[in-house]
């Protein structure tokens, strides 16, 4: 391990350790009641004892997040490709995609709950927030191929299909991946927010529902444990998508450059 790697991993780990230790010490020293602020050790033990309930909820939230992200990827790429083919289609639909994006999801969720079953409504909310960054980035990526390369393709009489597959699609890949990293995090946020909105409708078993429920029951350690799981899930999604991006771009893209030279 190089010195730089050591600093990169060790410094945040030490910060975290010191922070947790201080938290634990302060809670114990001042005898803070658990319904106000539980100590880290209690949160961990709650996580272990409540694992059957919490893991089931984690799975529900994760499956909503991943489904929403999957649908958003397919939908946004398909629509971006359509936009790339026709300026008119882009003009016709893009403003609505923007309008959908800027409307806060919490405001749409109650409406969706009227028309859809809570499960589907949550999925749709998560999809809506994940969709736009992917669409915007992929659309930009598909139209940002090097002009000289476009000329070159034209000079060698490339077909539309060849130009698309060999030039536009690979040019769009880094943009798409940047969008995917944003959307991965947003899909989780969308799922949680929608679940909280739907939670009051009495249906739900995801992590957000556990948080709301624990709040009602003043079971604050469990609330923290659920929060910890959401946080870990978010970090994991981010790391996985970063790894995917690195794996796809490592050979050629400038964003991956620092690692070699």
């Amino acid at each position: 391990m190089s010195r730089e790697d050591f600093v990169g991993y060790a410094v945040p780990a030490i910060t975290l350790g010191v922070g947790l230790f201080a938290w634990e010490a302060l809670v114990r020293y001042f005898a803070v009641p658990t319904y106000l602020l539980p100590a880290p050790s209690l949160i961990i033990s709650t996580l272990i004892t409540d694992w059957p309930t919490l893991s089931a909820s984690l799975w529900v939230t994760l499956s909503i997040t991943l489904k929403a992200l999957g649908v958003a990827v397919v939908g946004s790429v398909a629509l971006a490709i359509l936009f790339a083919q026709s300026r008119l289609v882009e003009r016709a639909f893009y403003p609505f995609a923007v309008a959908m994006q800027v409307t806060p999801i919490v405001a749409i969720a109650p409406l969706l709950l009227i028309y859809l079953t809570p499960g589907v409504a949550v999925l749709v909310c998560a999809f809506l927030v994940a969709f736009f960054p992917l669409l915007a980035n992929t659309t930009l990526g598909l139209s940002s191929a090097d002009h000289n390369l476009i000329d070159l393709f034209q000079m060698y009489r490339a077909s539309r299909m060849q130009q698309f597959m060999l030039l536009r699609l690979p040019s769009a890949l880094p943009y798409f991946l940047a969008g995917l990293r944003i959307s991965g995090g947003l899909a989780l946020i969308g799922a949680i927010v929608a679940e909280i909105a739907a939670g009051s409708a009495g249906q739900g078993s995801g992590l957000a529902y556990r948080i709301v429920e624990s709040g009602f029951r003043l079971n604050i350690p469990r609330m923290f444990a659920a929060l910890l799981l959401i946080s870990v899930a978010g970090i994991t999604i981010h790391l996985l998508l970063t790894a995917l991006s690195h794996w796809l771009l490592r050979d050629w893209h400038d964003s991956e450059r620092g690692r070699e030279s």
């Binding site: 060999l166 690979p170 450059r257």
Partner: protein, 279 residues
């Protein structure tokens, strides 16, 4: 009678008759969509097998000439007539213009790939092209791992892989450092004499144009037009690196430089005038 006819043919063949030009531009005007006149009434003959440089300041339309020749744009007025139908063209841009996501081999494969030639069938041609530019061992490298000069060599290999009869080069070495540039000039000169292709080379460097060309057309800007033509006497095939030290080279540089100053609308500097006879 028969014998007479044969003799006559032989005699005709012995007299050097200028072959018809490979491509002729007649009264070519090019006005862009924003009403900027890039070219105004350009007449230009390009002869088969020659190395022609288009030299001029920015905005003289020299790159537009290449784009017209490549069929990437069409003249507003005037005509471009090729002797042969659809000659195989190669184009080298100022930037290497490689696809960063594919390795050197795949980049050079591109023109053949677009023509439907499979990777395996194209392999000998690709290897030959890489050999020609001195990059034989670099097929698997990615553009990012190469220096600016090497990227340019890949770009040239890509242009050569279709074995073009006409090579169009748009200030290919302008972005490179002087040392790399001199080396690439040498290599291009050697390569060109072994290929025998016609080269149309756009540059804003007097030295580069004199070193490489059979003929230099000096262009002026606003509106773009040809204002002078200079023939470089020494045959390109016999030139070597030492040509840069020859009197003929120095004289042609002075002559070209003066023509360029006239094209740019200012008087040649006095020092050049004073020194010219001494050279």
């Amino acid at each position: 009678m028969n014998q007479m006819a044969t003799l006559a043919t032989k005699a005709a063949a012995a007299v050097p008759v200028a072959p018809p030009p490979l491509v002729t531009l007649r009264g070519v005007h090019k006005v862009f969509a924003n009403q900027v006149t890039a070219l105004e009434g350009l007449d230009l003959d390009i002869r088969a097998g020659e190395f022609l440089s288009l030299l001029g300041p920015s905005g003289c339309g020299k790159s537009t000439v290449l784009r017209l020749l490549a069929g990437l744009t069409s003249p507003t007025r005037g005509e471009i007539v090729w002797l042969a139908n659809c000659p195989e063209l190669g184009f080298v841009f100022q930037e290497p213009t490689l696809t960063p996501w594919s390795d050197v081999f795949t980049n050079v494969w591109l023109p053949l790939r677009l023509a439907g030639v499979s990777k395996e069938k194209a392999r000998p041609r690709i290897e030959e092209a890489l050999e020609q530019v001195g990059l034989a061992g670099f097929a698997k490298a990615y553009p990012r791992q190469l220096s600016g000069g090497m990227k340019m060599r890949v770009s040239i290999a890509r242009a050569l892989v279709t074995r073009p009869t006409v090579l169009l080069m748009d200030e290919p070495f302008a972005a490179l450092d002087e040392i790399t540039r001199l080396k690439l000039n040498d290599d291009l000169a050697a390569l060109r004499s072994s290929l025998g292709a016609t080269v149309v080379f756009v540059t804003h460097s007097v030295f580069e144009s004199v070193y490489l060309s059979d003929r230099i057309v000096v262009m002026a800007a606003r509106p773009g037009r040809a204002v002078a033509e200079i023939n470089v006497e020494s045959p390109t095939a016999s030139r070597q690196e030492g040509f840069r030290l020859c009197k003929a080279y120095a004289d042609t540089c002075v002559q070209t430089s003066e023509a360029l100053h006239v094209a740019m609308g200012d008087r040649p500097p006095a020092i050049l005038k004073a020194q010219a006879p001494a050279l």
